[in-house]
Symmetry: none
Subunit: 192 residues, 4 copies
Amino acid sequence: MGEKSVQKKKYILDTARKVFVEKGYKNVTMKDIVEACEISRGGLYLYFDSTEQILLEILQMEAEETDDIFSENITEGDTAADILTLFLKEQKKELLQKNTLTVAVYEYFFANRSTDKNNMLRKQFEAGVRVLEKLIEMGISSGEFYCENPKGAASNIMYVLEGMKINAQTFGISEKKVDEQLLYIMEGLIID
Amino acid sequence: MGEKSVQKKKYILDTARKVFVEKGYKNVTMKDIVEACEISRGGLYLYFDSTEQILLEILQMEAEETDDIFSENITEGDTAADILTLFLKEQKKELLQKNTLTVAVYEYFFANRSTDKNNMLRKQFEAGVRVLEKLIEMGISSGEFYCENPKGAASNIMYVLEGMKINAQTFGISEKKVDEQLLYIMEGLIID
Amino acid sequence: MGEKSVQKKKYILDTARKVFVEKGYKNVTMKDIVEACEISRGGLYLYFDSTEQILLEILQMEAEETDDIFSENITEGDTAADILTLFLKEQKKELLQKNTLTVAVYEYFFANRSTDKNNMLRKQFEAGVRVLEKLIEMGISSGEFYCENPKGAASNIMYVLEGMKINAQTFGISEKKVDEQLLYIMEGLIID
Amino acid sequence: MGEKSVQKKKYILDTARKVFVEKGYKNVTMKDIVEACEISRGGLYLYFDSTEQILLEILQMEAEETDDIFSENITEGDTAADILTLFLKEQKKELLQKNTLTVAVYEYFFANRSTDKNNMLRKQFEAGVRVLEKLIEMGISSGEFYCENPKGAASNIMYVLEGMKINAQTFGISEKKVDEQLLYIMEGLIID
DNA sequence: CATGAATGAGAGTTCATTCAT
DNA sequence: GATGAATGAACTCTCATTCAT
């Protein structure tokens, strides 16, 4: 595949992303993507074999692109509380935004549940727990936080975020509700 | 619809339930249900017009049946902690069991998101929060629990349960993980 | 079939008639008739095997009932012109009225064209021509009419009526148009 | 749609025409056309969405093709009587020929009656009346015809043609009958 | 006689996938 | 590489017709 087709592939993935955002996973057909991309039916098949493959490549692309957003925003001198706040702010933003693949991703993993170590959702979830655990331990060390069970607290936060994400996609969640819960979590950690 | 057909309708709902448990919502066709029920194509249409209607009637049936399971198990003399434990045990059981409509329900509400007051998921979630809040306040009064923000704690528990449910359906969750988190939650409330 | 069922048969025919008036022939299903009659599916089959049979029995019933309307209204002493006027007035009324089986009948005979002598439409058409021819000859004898070709004139009138009937059912015809043409026809016959 | 598909579309319309000629409108299914064309189910849907659309496109095609047949056959020097004769001969030919869309068209307009100005049948009928009226007036001017009410006569002819068309399709009409009536009409106009 | 549940054939329609150009 | 016409499988839904009660 030459240089030109790399561009086209990228174009297809970007366009297909919008389709998945709008319609989830199961509702998206190859035809939908062909039409959104305004390319030929056969043309799409030159690059991808199925909607599954397209979604997975979108997710992979996404993972590569977003890996570093979080760390980029951490400045030297930030306290654990600062970083945790930043983390939760990021999550909140993602939670409330409209153009999200959340539904498509859940639908995909519902249909392709796997307890495998490599399951993307599992990896992301466990990475989140680890980051938070580290952060909480940092905060304990620095005297900012009080917490008897950092791992439990970290897991708690991740489960809550997961739960709020689902609520957001099934019956909506107000920014106020999110803020209240995040505040509840921070108050449980911070030594006043 | 006579007595006989009431039985048959029940039979179809029960059989269709298994199909939804196995395949979720979007993947289920009228044909699937026809075949599972071993009835004729037209026969199914005598009772139901769409998979949507079938799922909704299953959910309604389920709601009617399960309304009271929780309250039935509360004995006089139970402390707040006893009841909370019971509640969490129930939730844990639901969380870990295989034959669950969870995926079908989420898929349905992904496709039919509505921030309406009547959204079934919203009603169930909010009912859960209310119950827990009451319970926590009871526990505080009786000196069993310590909690500065009962509503925050109640929401926290519900979000966590929601998050664990999703994890269970997308990459699995071990009983151990569930126990750990539930323990973490109880420890946060109980005065040792 | 006992006395009771004769009544029921009549009831079905009367009710089905309305259905044919409303929907023509091809669009009418046994189900439509069952629903209109508010009887059971099987019940209808006790009396009739098909929509075709039902329509044909309605037409037969109609033929028996209406045979005499025309002759009943002829009074002794009426001139040929009087009778012709009466005839055309009858036809006009039928032409313009809404609850007509015309469409159903045409649809039926389109699908069951037969050049047979017994074809109902043919019989009615030819009877019409004969009546008109007689009438015109009477008028000539009595000095009311002038006509060199009574049969041609009679046929002309019947074709015109047929043509107007069709127009009425496909794009509508105004009473004015009907009157103009009937006047044109009368003027062609009457000696001023 | 490329050159090739234009051809195929034409092919489908031509083939479907035969089906409509044979079976009318209501009896024709997409499947019938698919089978007549020997193409795939999906293939037909690439070009047309419904039998209605197909019939309408056939009629449009027909209208475009036949618009000029009449005028093409008028030679300079023809008298009004010549042209009228030509017109009636054309109509007679159409009337008696077998492979006619007449039934399909009537069936369609029975089901889609509209008194609208744009109703195809209305337009054709009214155009016919206008042409005939002009023709008769020409004949009067040239001393060929005698007629006190050209519009009435023109309408009379069109109604008769319509009536004969219907008879032809419901119980048949012999060439002799057509000739007799057309002769009757001509005799009513021509000054001997 | 009468009911209405049940069946199954058949029409409509959509899409994943292929392939000649 | 790219196109888009073509295919055929799969689904949805409706009814004529039967039959046990």
